[in-house]
């Protein structure tokens, strides 16, 4: 096996504010291969966001090691290889929708025509072409979240980190975007770490599902999802699909 794209080794994280300390992650190790689509699944408070932020160099672990693309998360961040979708949309309210998507492209000095091309196709993809010149406050929460996704995809990042990107969306939009993201991913073959608390979603999207249990956050199972790709919505009714969902659900009950 080649060296993993993301290597998480014995990572622990303890938050401490004024004396009180919370152990958010306890000795977590995961290897993620290049081009892999991996989910972090678990109930609220189990440390999913914490782990994602550690991978993305937004947090330093209390102990343990993380290597991304054979270097520290910091170096990978300085190489502008991360695209992050936060749990809330984090849009700039003084920028229109298309200018919000343009933001990282400006920072990364992508040529202007290329910027326009990408913005146009991404707006199309997330179904917001008509809202290009609207301001964020004129959009619904779900629409704002879709802008956040488009913005992360715009830079075509080596590593895409997504923190419950679809949790604010209705079932229909969510399932459509599940497929859209998979379609983009299959074309680019980038590594994706996808945080969710929705079991069916994690099965539908992933190559592997990392199941985390709370207090403290521990890796309780890694489940291989050997469903064929491309994934289609019919698969959601397959017995194999439902068997995997049941298997993951049971792994929680063991905790």
């Amino acid at each position: 096996m080649n060296t993993p794209e993301i290597r998480i080794e014995n990572v622990s994280m303890v938050y401490s504010d004024n004396g009180a300390s919370v152990k958010a992650l306890d000795n977590v190790s995961i290897d993620i291969q290049k081009g892999e689509f991996i989910s972090l699944l678990g109930p609220s408070g189990c440390g999913k966001t914490t782990l994602l932020r550690i991978i993305g160099d937004l947090l330093q672990p209390t102990s343990g090691n993380v290597l991304v693309c054979d270097q520290t998360p910091r170096q990978t961040r300085m190489d502008q290889k991360y695209g992050i979708v936060f749990q809330s949309p984090v849009l700039f309210d003084w920028r229109t929708i298309s200018k919000n998507i343009r933001l990282p492209l400006e920072i990364m000095k992508v040529p202007r025509e290329e910027q326009n091309r990408r913005i146009e196709s991404l707006l199309e993809l997330v179904g917001l072409s008509k809202f290009a010149d609207h301001y964020p406050h004129q959009l619904s929460g779900g629409m704002q979240q879709r802008v956040g996704i488009a913005r992360a995809l715009a830079i075509q990042p080596e590593i895409l980190l997504m923190d419950e990107p679809f949790s604010a969306l209705d079932e229909f939009t969510r399932e459509k975007l599940n497929e859209d993201v998979l379609q983009i991913w299959s074309k680019t073959n980038k590594t994706v770490v996808f945080v969710t608390h929705n079991i069916a979603e994690s099965v539908f999207m992933s190559d592997r599902v990392c199941v985390l249990s709370p207090h403290p956050g521990r890796l309780s199972a890694i489940v291989d999802i050997d469903l064929p790709r491309p994934r289609t919505k019919e698969m959601r009714d397959w017995p194999e699909f439902n068997a995997l969902v049941a298997k993951i659900r049971n792994s929680f009950e063991g905790v």
């Binding site: 937004l58 936060f86 984090v90 700039f92 309210d93 003084w94 920072i107 301001y135």
Partner: protein, 268 residues
């Protein structure tokens, strides 16, 4: 915008009508109830004042334009200084720690004492007006702007950080735009103050200006009490004008704010 204007208009009208009514009743009472022989000196009728304002419109506007031009220049310099000071303080903890107490102390020196000192140093009414206006402007501008810079949302900073954006880009694309509403509320406070500052210096002795008119009509009775009041009201209108102009600029510069409820900064 038009919607918010529509809802504000009745309130503004009610205020204006209320003030006029109270004024006229007060003036009428002095004459007819208290039979005060000095009634027209103490509180002339508002309609008399308006008439005098109309008659002396050209001369009032001449004085006003002198005052406004000095105040505006001071306001401009003060705003720039306040903005730059805020940026510099936000860039360095140490600079903030050293500079901040000076900022606070600077506000403890009474402007009434400082104005004659400056006037004496520069020996020139024009320069003194600009300097004092600038001095009074920079503080609310820098404090509000610094407050805005410090209240940038952490998630937004994290986003810029994740792109490995440089410091300059973070300021240009995130920090300054998000501090804009705060800067604007600082400017709204400072605009009327800068007019007041210019008038104060004028009262120390300059050739022209609305402050000179107030002083002369008060002490030398030139034109009588009505003219004094006309000058005072003109100066008040200048302050209001400053506020309104900044508010309009805010609407034009920040179109995304027009349809939302204002966030932060408004009374920071």
């Amino acid at each position: 915008m038009s919607a918010s204007l529509k809802s504000k208009l009745p309130v503004a009208l009610a205020w204006i009508i209320g003030v006029i009514a109270i004024w006229e009743i007060g003036a009428w009472s002095l004459v007819n109830i208290f039979h005060d022989p000095m009634a027209t000196q103490k509180l002339p009728f508002l309609h008399d004042i308006v008439r005098v304002m109309a008659q002396n419109w050209a001369s009032l506007m001449d004085s006003a334009s002198v005052t406004v031009s000095k105040a505006a220049l001071g306001f401009l310099y003060g705003s720039i200084a306040g903005f730059v000071i805020a940026i510099v303080m936000s860039l360095s903890r140490n600079v903030e720690r050293v500079a901040f107490p000076y900022l606070i102390i600077s506000q403890m020196i009474p402007i009434l004492g400082l104005a004659p000192i400056i006037y004496n140093i520069v020996k020139d009414g024009d320069t003194a007006r600009v300097v004092i206006s600038a001095y009074i402007t920079f503080f609310p501008v820098s404090i509000n702007t610094l407050g805005g810079i410090k209240s940038v949302e952490k998630d937004r900073l994290d986003l810029m950080y994740s792109y490995a954006a440089g410091k300059f880009q973070v300021y240009r694309k995130l920090i300054i735009p998000s501090a804009m509403p705060y800067l604007m509320s600082g400017l709204k406070i400072a605009a009327p103050l800068s007019v007041t500052a210019a008038i104060l210096v004028e009262m120390l002795g300059t050739d022209e200006g609305i402050g000179v008119k107030i002083l002369y009509t008060l002490y030398y009775g030139a034109g009588g009490a009505t003219m004094f009041w006309a000058s005072v009201i003109t100066s008040a209108l200048l302050g209001i004008l400053g506020y309104v102009l900044i508010s309009l600029a805010e609407k034009l510069l920040m179109p995304w704010q027009n349809t939302t409820s204002k966030r932060g900064g408004e009374d920071a």
